[in-house]
Symmetry: C2
Amino acid sequence: MAEMIERISAGLERAFAARGFASPSVEELRDAAGVSLRTLYKYTPSRADMVLAALEHRHRRYMARIFTELPEAQGGALDTLLARVGGWMAEEAAHGCLFHAAVAADPDSARLRALLQRHKAEVAERAASACGLPGREAELLLLLEGLTQSWPLHGAQAIAAAQQLGRALIQAPQ
Amino acid sequence: MAEMIERISAGLERAFAARGFASPSVEELRDAAGVSLRTLYKYTPSRADMVLAALEHRHRRYMARIFTELPEAQGGALDTLLARVGGWMAEEAAHGCLFHAAVAADPDSARLRALLQRHKAEVAERAASACGLPGREAELLLLLEGLTQSWPLHGAQAIAAAQQLGRALIQAPQ
DNA sequence: GCATGGGTAGAGGGACCATTCTACATCTGT
DNA sequence: ACAGATGTAGAATGGTCCCTCTACCCATGC
C-alpha cells in the first residue's frame, strides 16, 4: 500500500533527524517506523534504503513548507523565504541540514551524493524563480546554506544577517 | 614526545578527511598514522579521542592557511579571505567542512559539539578583526559557511558570489 | 471452508570492530 | 653492560549490528 511506505518514511525521517544517521540501529528504526522488521525490510530492503526514503520524505516536507504561497514582491519573497528557513531550523533541524549529515555519515554512497545535489539544486532553482532572480542561483544557495549552517551558532542574528545580505543582492545588478 | 602526537594527529586528519568519520576502522587509522595500535591508543585512548586530535590539527592548519598575511585594506582582506577559503575547499575539503562532518557522524558527543562551536567562533572573530568589521561576525560567518557548503555544487561561481555579497556587506553600514 | 496476501514477533547467523593484552625489539643514559 | 622507557606486531575478547528466516495471525474473496 502507498500509505505504508509513507508511514515508514515519516517514521524514519523522525528517527534520523532526532538521533543522527550513524547510531540508530535497524531495530530502533523499526520502532520509529512502527512496523515489524520484516515489513520494514520489504519496503526499504537495506539500511541505506531507509536513509534514502527518509531524505526523500524530508525533501517533500521542506519544499512544501518553504516555498508555498510566497509573496509576489521580489524583496518580500526573499525575506519571507529566509525567515521560513529560520523557522524550519528552529523547529525541525536544530542540528543542521539532514542531507549534509547523511552524506557526512556515509561519504562513499553515490546515491546519497546524487540526492543531496538534486535537493540543493532544486532548492536553488525554486528560490531563484520565486524571488524573480533568474541566474542568481549561486548567490541564493550561498545565502540559504550560510543561514542553515550558521543558525545553530547565531540564531536570530543569522536570519537578520541573511536578510540584510539578501537585500543587497536584490539591489546590486549583474 | 611532542613530535609523536603531531605525527599521529596529521595522519588521523588525512585519514578522516579522505574516508569520512564513520567508516575507517581503528586499524585503518593506525596505518594512516604510521604507528602501532598500542602507541596510537597511548596518545589517543579511544576512537573519539582520535577524532578530536584530528580536528584540532585541522583547526591549526586551517587558521594558519586562511589568516596569515592578509592584506590591510578592508575589501582586499575579505576578497582574499574568501578566495583562500575557495582554494582550501579545492585542495583540502572537497567533501565539505570536516567539523560539520564529524558532528554529523556522532551528534551525541558534547566534546565534538564544543569543538565545532569553538572553531567557528574563532574563525568568525578572526575574520571580523582581519577585515576591520567588528560586530559583523554573524554576517561574515554566514558568508564563509555559505561558501564552504555551496562550493561543492557551484565551484568558482560560489567564490564569486561570496565576494560579491562581501562587497555589499562592506558598503552597507550598520 | 479455506487459500492467499500482507501483516507481527522474534531468534540466529555471520561479520565486523574497538579495545586490551602478550611477547618481543630498540634506543638512551649511566 | 644493562635497566627502563618507548616502540612494533598481532592475537584474543566481548559486544554490536545488519539481515534472514521461521512460526504464527488475520482479513478478504471465492
